[in-house]
């Protein structure tokens, strides 16, 4: 349940201008597009600096696409703005989500992953397991692989392999499987719970305290 805030002056002005007609509306659309483009560029730059997915003119092209699509969505959904946040925060959300979707699509322009394959050799590196400590973690990895084979459904194995073994970003997997971020996350959530229970039953991990959880699922980053 969210509360409606008292509409601030700036938000009220945006609503008035975007809800008007003629030159007043056109001017507001131009101003909003400029803001969205600036944010798309900044956000793509922030993510690309880390993931090195997109650079140069390609990055600017994606920024223009994200800003244009966000502007369309905002004008179409203007009536859904309920004043729960500042108007600009609500509007910027659209362009941030567009950036995520566009980067997910962009991943497959240079596909290097065969989703059906399982490359278990990558797992130790994925979790920073040192070869020097192999004697300590070898049993855990064997037990994990066994649990993946025996406890997970086919769909859960596919998602686990893509995200954990191949480092496919979750948003890219969404595109490839024609699914939603929420559905893929839920599949992975259930898989993680099953795997933890299986490893706990064998004494490798504790049953799990749901206190502070800091995981990084599906950005392609290492934890």
């Amino acid at each position: 349940m969210t509360e409606c805030r008292r509409l601030d002056v700036e938000s009220a002005a945006w609503l008035r201008d975007l809800g008007s007609t003629g030159a007043q509306r056109e001017d507001a659309l131009v101003r909003l597009h400029e803001l969205l483009l600036r944010i798309a560029r900044g956000e793509l730059g922030r993510r690309s600096a880390r993931q090195r997915q997109v650079t140069g003119p390609e990055l600017d092209d994606l920024a223009h696409q994200a800003a244009a699509d966000a502007l369309l969505a905002i004008t179409a959904k203007l009536g859904q703005f309920r004043g729960e946040s500042r108007f600009t925060t609500w509007a910027y959300r659209f362009v941030i989500l567009e950036v995520s979707t566009k980067l997910g699509r962009h991943f497959w322009q240079r596909p290097t992953v065969a989703l059906a394959a399982e490359d278990w050799d990558r797992l130790p590196d994925r979790f920073g397991m040192s070869p020097d400590e192999q004697a300590q973690w070898h049993g855990l990895v064997v037990a994990l692989r066994q649990a993946v084979d025996q406890e997970l459904t086919e769909r859960q194995r596919l998602v686990f392999a893509a995200i954990v073994l191949h480092g496919v970003p979750l948003d890219a997997l969404v595109i490839e499987l024609g699914s939603t971020r929420n559905a893929i996350y839920k599949t992975m959530f259930d898989a993680r719970r099953k795997l933890r229970a299986a490893l706990a039953a064998k004494g490798y991990l504790s049953a799990g305290d749901p206190g502070e959880v800091t995981t990084d699922i599906g950005t392609g980053r290492r934890t």
Binding site: T2, R5, L35, I39, G42, E43, R46, R47, E84, S85, R86, T88, T89, W90, Y92, R93, V95, I96, L97, V99, S100, P124, F127, G128, M129, S130, E133, Q136, W137, L140, L144, V164, P169, L170, D171, T180, R181, N182, Y185, K186, F189, R192, R193, R196, L205, S206, G208, D209, P210, G211, E212, V213, T214, T215, D216, I217, G218, T219, R221, T223
Partner: protein, 76 residues
């Protein structure tokens, strides 16, 4: 962090986690609360399931951080 503890954390799930859909519906509200209070404590208190989700979901946390930067930059 050892590889063992990394895997341990990766396999932890929080039952309060609301999932991506609900977290994204509340993203702008959550971000404004953080900016209003200059800390995430109040937002996490009001929406513990969203906070739990951002702690566990890399893509949604990326969106949260991105919106926080964008909206924060436009504040006077």
């Amino acid at each position: 962090m050892t590889g063992w503890s990394g895997l341990d954390r990766f396999l932890q799930t929080d039952p309060r986690d609301v999932g991506c859909e609900q977290a994204m519906q509340l993203l702008h509200v959550y971000v404004d609360l953080v900016l209003d209070h200059l800390t995430s404590a109040e937002a996490a208190r009001r929406y513990p399931g969203v906070a739990a989700h951002f702690a566990a979901c890399g893509p949604c946390n990326d969106d949260y951080e991105g919106l926080l930067i964008a909206a924060g930059a436009s504040r006077p």
